[in-house]
């Protein structure tokens, strides 16, 4: 049973790795941010599964914090880029 949960967690980690492709590719900053947000949720799920697999319930608190705090980076991103920088990074796509 625990092996199954560990395998599921591994599967989710592989998902994150696949999603990294979008971070590398872009093209916009917003795309990268979307990917980061997706990783946040996937990471939460993966931590929950690990907590079950390794039988250490306090890992759930780490998952809780991830769920609570990932939105902050997005907020910082939006607030900083909306005010000062209006340009996007890779203008060649426009």
């Amino acid at each position: 049973m625990n092996t199954f949960f560990l395998g599921m967690a591994l599967f989710l980690v592989l998902n994150i790795l696949a999603g990294l492709w979008r971070v590398l590719k872009g093209p916009k900053q917003a795309d990268r941010m979307v990917a980061a947000q997706l990783f946040g949720t996937t990471g939460v799920a993966s931590l929950l599964l690990l907590a079950q697999a390794l039988e250490s319930p306090f890992i759930r608190n780490a998952a809780l914090l991830f769920a609570l705090l990932t939105v902050m980076a997005v907020l910082a991103f939006v607030r900083n880029t909306s005010y000062g920088v209006v340009e996007d990074n890779n203008d060649e796509h426009l």
Binding site: M1, F4, F5, M8, F11, L12, N15, A18, G19, W21, R22, K28, A30, D31, M33, V34, A35, Q37, L38, G40, T41, T42, V44, A45, L48, L49, Q52, P57, R60, A63, L64, A67, L68, T70, V71, V74, L75, F77, V78, T81, S82, V86, D88, L94
Partner: protein
């Protein structure tokens, strides 16, 4: 021998995993940012939801269930608002760009 709860748990976790896979594929394959946002919110939160339900089946106590559901709820709030912010951001950016390029075109 596995109990019925364990089988249910495995089932739900597999469904959750499927949704995560779908979300990741969407993130990679969808053509523009708005669509990718779509992939993020729908697939991902459903995925987390199913995995949480799956884990609830094997969890021991009521506080654990509450904590798991709280995590799911927070992730829902977090990612939906993040999506809103990002979407709003792209929208604003495109408007700024239109204004700037407007007279030329």
């Amino acid at each position: 021998m596995m109990s019925i709860y364990e089988i249910l748990s495995i089932l739900f976790c597999l469904i959750g995993g499927f949704f995560f896979l779908a979300g990741t594929l969407g993130l990679i394959r969808f053509p523009d940012t708005y669509c990718r946002l779509h992939a993020l919110t729908k697939a991902d939160n459903l995925g987390l939801g199913f995995i949480v339900i799956g884990l609830i089946f094997v969890s021991g106590s009521v506080p654990e269930v509450i904590k798991l559901s709280l995590i799911w709820f927070l992730a829902l709030v977090g990612s939906s608002s993040a999506c809103y912010f990002i979407g709003n951001h792209i929208h604003l950016l495109s408007k700024v760009r239109e204004n700037r390029n407007g007279p030329d075109i």
